[in-house]
């Protein structure tokens, strides 16, 4: 590039302003909690993600599954963030925000959609027991995989499902996070 072209390309002015955009079809925010950073996302007023996954991966999947108009708009997450904080402070046992399993496969939806009725606050259940309750008695392993892919962690309490031996087995947010949630619920149930 010669001197003139170089001068043209160096054009700059200070204080550029980022755009202000309308409400996204999918609004998301990163929320730091005691169990790690959660990517929270809502679409049409329903929670479509509460995930430990990384921003690029999860927003990419939301763009494909729901709408590519995905924007970081934290205000839209106020309700779910508030309920999560209350839950993590031990001040809430049930969530009232609606959930949408747009990121789940049909089998994952089968496993996850009624998880709240199959589990209760402060109690655990084994993968095999849950498999039996949803009429897939031989599918304990597949049920475990579906729970591991839960796109709406904590709100859909996959952390309450553990190995039949009592071992915690696994959790998207790490075993420490799972242990934290189970201890939190146990403590609150005992003190209630």
């Amino acid at each position: 590039m010669n001197a003139l072209e170089d001068r043209l390309s160096r054009f700059s002015t200070p204080d550029l302003k980022p755009p202000v955009l309308p409400d996204a079809d999918v609004a998301y925010a990163l929320h730091d909690t005691a169990i790690g950073t959660l990517l929270l996302a809502v679409a049409h007023g329903r929670v479509v993600a509460s995930s430990f996954g990384d921003e690029e991966t999860i927003t990419g999947r939301l763009a494909r599954a729901v709408s590519p108009r995905v924007l970081r708009q934290p205000r839209a997450l106020d309700a779910v963030r508030g309920e999560l904080d209350e839950y993590l402070a031990g001040e809430r046992q049930e969530f009232t925000v609606q959930v949408d399993l747009a990121l789940a496969t049909p089998f994952q939806q089968l496993v996850l959609s009624d998880l709240r009725t199959h589990t209760s606050y402060g109690a655990t259940k084994s993968y095999g027991e849950l498999a039996g309750e949803i009429d897939r008695p031989k599918a304990a392993r597949a049920v475990g995989t579906a729970l591991g892919a839960n796109p709406v962690c904590v709100l859909l309490p996959c952390h309450r499902i553990i190995g039949s031996s009592g071992s915690l087995t696994g959790y998207a947010g790490g075993l420490d996070a799972k242990r934290y949630l189970l201890n939190l619920e146990k403590k609150r149930t005992r003190s209630a």
Partner: protein, 163 residues
Amino acid sequence: MVVMTVGLPPFQALVDAHWRDVARLARALAGPVDGDDVAQRAWEKAFAAYPGLTSAKNLRSWLLTITARCATDVHRARKPQRPLDDAPAVAVDGPDAAAWPDPNLWQAVNELPERQRYAITLKYVGDLDHHGVAAALDTTPAASRRLVSDALATLRRTLGVDA
């Protein structure tokens, strides 16, 4: 639910990657005051049109094309407000260059014919190739090449040999 087959990235990724480029191009094309308005409009248009895109290729070029068109719209909307008798000898179509970095250069750019001014701004501030410039100006890459080389020749004459 609409399942996207073209695999468009989340709009936030476009904003994060390109908002500075859009803002910079908008100011270079429309000036410091109108430029921010042009950039804002361009993003609103892009946001509205985004789900209908049939290809995820050249999204940066697509955004800068929208920005150039919004700059043209603002420019056209302003024109009738200027009484012809009062038109100054020097073109006021372009941005007010006096307050900018490298004012001599940008004053000279502003005096170029409109299409040439757009072409070199898209090429060098927008960092587009001639295909991108041509798309933004609704013309051919060959025509873009001519517009840019004519503009550079004029600028060299105006600014002196070692410009």
